[in-house]
């Protein structure tokens, strides 16, 4: 039995890249908020309520298309035997988890906007309802993810859930046309391909899309890293607990006793030094 060393932390250039993306995302969101609240003018009809346009559509774009699309694509690539790799599974769960937060934010910002424009917190509008369903589907995915299982079984189940749930996304997209709806149509991508907003408002909206996309990428990378560490912890938990037990049974004055020489190397620095022992140690 041997204890694998922990995966290396973000090192050198990669760490700097992640930090730069994070800083750019935070800065972008801050500038979007500043432009949206103070620089851009109020709308002729919607007045100050129009300022939500700089936040709600970018968040919805990340939640409904980017995050969910990436999770579905990663799941397909995991299911396809030729491209199967643990990296796709980790990318899928990271994307889905961050996407779930963005879906919830889409509903919250949409609800606030609905209150301001329609006068109600919630309307049984097709797109609102479909987005709420998508949130429940994502929660279902995360529930499957939490079921204890080995990596492959969990990855397989999760990939299937993501793929089946992905069928719901076209319903979200086309539901505006399918059902009678209160929701407004596309602003940037209307059929005439000519944006219906101009000047500072258009640039602020564009910056909003870039900023929230960067925010998603940053959170995705950080979450991916946490998945890697969590998997390492799962794999080595039993070995670490056993090692701690053996260490407790060893005479104090002597070095740590190892049952068979060379079979259990010392745990990596800072790991296994905790006093608590999980239930796995008793098994």
């Amino acid at each position: 039995m041997s204890i694998a060393p922990p995966p290396p932390p973000w090192s050198g250039r990669r760490r700097r890249t992640v930090d730069v993306i994070g800083a750019a995302a935070v800065l972008g969101v801050a500038v979007t908020v500043w432009l949206g609240l103070w620089v851009t003018p109020p709308d002729q009809h919607l007045h100050d309520e129009v300022r939500l346009v700089y936040v709600h559509p970018p968040i919805a774009w990340v939640a409904l298309y980017l995050a969910f699309g990436l999770a579905a694509l990663s799941s397909v690539l995991w299911l396809w035997p030729r491209t199967r790799s643990g990296a796709w599974d980790r990318l899928a769960v990271a994307s889905m988890e961050v996407g779930t937060v963005f879906t919830a934010l889409t509903l919250v910002t949409g609800s606030i906007w609905g209150r301001a424009t329609w006068g109600v917190w919630w309307a049984w509008d097709a797109r609102l309802t479909s987005t709420a369903l998508l949130l429940v589907l994502q929660l279902g995915y995360l529930a499957v993810r939490r079921v204890p299982a080995d990596h492959e079984a969990r990855a397989r189940r999760s990939a299937v859930v993501a793929l089946v749930a992905a069928v719901d996304v076209p319903i979200v997209h086309f539901s505006v046309d399918w059902w009678t709806t209160l929701h407004q149509g596309g602003t940037i991508t209307n059929p005439n391909l000519s944006p219906t907003i101009h000047g500072a408002m258009a640039w602020t909206l564009l910056l909003g899309f870039v900023a929230f996309t960067l925010l998603f990428v940053w959170l995705l990378l950080v979450r991916y890293r946490v998945v890697v560490l969590a998997e390492w912890r799962e794999d080595t938990e039993l070995a670490l607990a056993l090692h701690e037990r053996w260490a407790e049974g060893a005479p104090r004055a002597e070095p740590v006793a190892v049952p068979r020489e060379g079979t259990v190397p010392a745990p990596p620095a800072g790991v296994g030094a905790t006093e608590s022992v999980g239930p796995a140690a008793r098994g």
Binding site: L133, L137, G140, A143, V144, V147, R156, L163, V164, A165
Partner: protein, 223 residues
């Protein structure tokens, strides 16, 4: 594939004929739901007639969860799933067979519930063709999605709570489209806009049948 499907469907239906779990336990739960809905909306019949299509599909959805759980539990015994995997049956055939068996059971359930809607709620069937076509398409879609998720949740200790969470949101389009189609069939909506909804039900059924045929194999490999 088709031969394996017939074999598996025959096996599941034979077990049901002998054990009668769906007939004696799941169908009565569906009827009970209709009665409970009446308690919630009645005793005046007008609200019940107006809500009858939706209540019918809600009852089908929730009792459908029980039928799917029962279908997945047939392979829940020690080593039965491994036995099916080792039997050399085509996974797509197993999926289609189990879907067909669940469809047959849901059809029996729906016939009873439809009679209940007519008798208890006083609804009148104006277009039997729309009623039958939408019910058939919706039932196949529900059975396909349910069988897929039933296999996914099978063997897990949390399957009873996980299956409804996974299955019901996915089945929501069937509830919406089925209700709209039934509103036309029962004449409560007053418009004959049943075509788009029937198409939606058909698309749902075809998509989930195709997904099941492709995915059921890899899903069965999960321990």
């Amino acid at each position: 594939m088709w031969r394996d499907g017939v074999l598996v469907a025959g096996k599941d239906l034979r077990i049901e004929v002998r054990s009668r779990v769906v007939l004696h336990q799941v169908v009565p739960v569906g009827v009970l739901m209709l009665v409970l809905f009446a308690f919630a909306l009645g005793p005046a019949t007008a609200p019940m007639v107006a809500a009858a299509p939706g209540l019918f599909w809600v009852a089908v959805l929730f009792t459908g969860v029980l039928a799917v759980q029962r279908s997945a539990a047939l392979e829940g015994g020690d080593g039965t799933r491994d036995g099916v995997r080792l039997s050399g049956l085509d996974p797509a055939g197993v999926f289609l067979g189990k879907t067909a068996a669940v469809t047959v059971q849901l059809v029996v359930l729906e016939v009873v519930l439809c009679a209940g809607v007519v008798l208890f709620y006083g609804a009148h069937v104006r277009s039997l063709g729309t009623l039958v076509a939408s019910s058939a398409a919706g039932t196949v879609g529900l059975a396909a999605a349910g069988t897929l998720y039933g296999a996914l949740a099978a063997g897990l200790r949390v399957r009873e709570t996980l299956l409804p969470l996974l299955f019901l949101p996915v089945a929501a389009p069937v509830l919406v489209a089925g209700t709209k189609a039934w509103q036309s069939a029962l004449g409560t909506s007053g418009v004959g806009a049943d075509d788009p909804w029937l198409r939606l039900l058909l698309v749902f059924a075809v998509v989930y049948l195709a997904l099941g045929v492709v995915i059921f194999g890899p899903l069965q490999e999960a321990p």
